[in-house]
């Protein structure tokens, strides 16, 4: 009797706050050339979560309605953000407004320290995360790779952490892989999503190979020459990176070692060595 042929297992699902998500890609909805391209790109990305925001509505405006219709047609979960908030108060109020208008208690929490780097204000972030978690929010904080801040965010009630790869919109990839590896090793059981700074599918694959649970990106797809094709490229890269992580990467060596067996090599003479 023949042994069954080994088959590649499907990659495991991502679970955030008890919700199982088929895709490990979270994608932003901003900066696309048109609503049609946005919709096609989200579909091509196979993302199960899209990020959204709140902005001022003008008198007699219907911008919000139109956007909600567009998003509803995508059939995906929405993750509102607090982008642009610089204080705890702004972020908390924005989260509360988002919960009401989007009908979700999930919030991508951003508290920005300064406009040049868009670096998280980690002190405000921890405080806002604590307030929002106590108010029933499921907080996904945009943070740095700092381990003590991560510990504080978990203590504040966060069950997912989203460290930056590089500053928002820079497309530089993983600026500090060593620190991110440390974070992954230090929090083996916490879902960690790389949020921001991803510029190329190879960056996303690298993050997934390192064992990160997902990737959140926007500009790399929206500003690509062909956003729909790029969305698909990211979907494949993330799947490949995750499969590689689950399969287990080989260790590295300093010196070469032949992959073809040495034994039985033709013309091989011991005196050649």
């Amino acid at each position: 009797m023949n042994a069954p042929e080994p088959v590649a297992k499907a990659a495991s699902a991502l679970t955030l706050y008890g919700v199982e998500l088929p895709s490990r890609l979270l994608i932003g909805t901003a900066q696309y050339p048109s609503p049609q391209v946005l919709a096609s790109a989200v579909k091509a990305s196979a993302a199960s979560i899209v990020t959204v925001s709140l902005r001022r509505e003008q008198a007699r405006g219907r911008t919000g309605e139109r956007f909600l219709e567009l998003i509803a047609a995508l059939g995906v979960r929405v993750l509102p953000n607090t982008a642009g908030c610089h204080t705890v108060k702004e972020a908390v109020t924005t989260a509360q407004m988002a919960r009401e208008v989007f009908g979700t208690d999930w919030i991508k929490l951003e508290v920005i320290a300064n406009d040049d780097t868009l670096q998280p204000d980690v002190f405000g972030l921890v405080e806002a995360a604590s307030i929002l978690s106590a108010d029933g929010f499921k907080v996904l904080p945009y943070t740095t790779e700092d381990l003590s801040v991560a510990d504080r965010l978990l203590a504040a009630g966060c069950r997912v952490l989203m460290p930056w790869g590089a500053p928002i919109g820079t497309g530089r990839g993983l600026a500090n892989p060593y620190a991110l590896k440390s974070m992954r090793a230090y929090f083996p059981a916490v879902p960690l999503i790389i949020d921001a700074g991803i510029g190329a599918p190879s960056h996303a694959a690298q993050a997934m190979e390192m064992g990160f649970d997902g990737v959140l990106l926007n500009t790399a797809v929206a500003k690509a020459g062909e956003p729909v094709r790029m969305a698909e490229a990211f979907a494949r890269a993330i799947e490949a990176g995750r499969a590689a992580y689950e399969a287990g990467l080989m260790g590295t060596r300093d010196m070469a070692q032949p992959s073809t067996p040495v034994a039985g090599t033709p013309f091989f003479d011991l005196d050649r060595r």
């Binding site: 900066q31 008198a59 219907r62 919000g64 309605e65 109020t93 208008v101 928002i168």
Partner: protein
């Protein structure tokens, strides 16, 4: 325009960062005055969230800072 030049029963307030003179006595009336009754919006008064159900009971006072926001693209 400053509060002193307002007609009777109007207030000078700030809506979405802009100076506005309104006759609305409540946040619900202000939303309606701006043609946004029933729209997919959320509101805040002086930095605090005001749920939709509380707008009718939220009085508008001179100098109030009101935010009226709606869903938009985001990253």
């Amino acid at each position: 325009m400053t509060a002193t030049t307002c007609a009777p029963d109007t207030h000078a307030i700030i809506v979405n960062g802009e100076s506005v003179v309104t006759a609305a006595a409540t946040l619900e009336a202000l939303v309606a005055e701006r043609g946004l009754a029933g729209a997919s919006i959320a509101t805040a008064r002086n930095g605090d969230f005001v749920p939709a159900a509380a707008r009718a009971a939220t009085a508008i006072a001179p100098g109030d800072r009101i935010e009226i926001v709606s869903p938009r693209h985001g990253g």
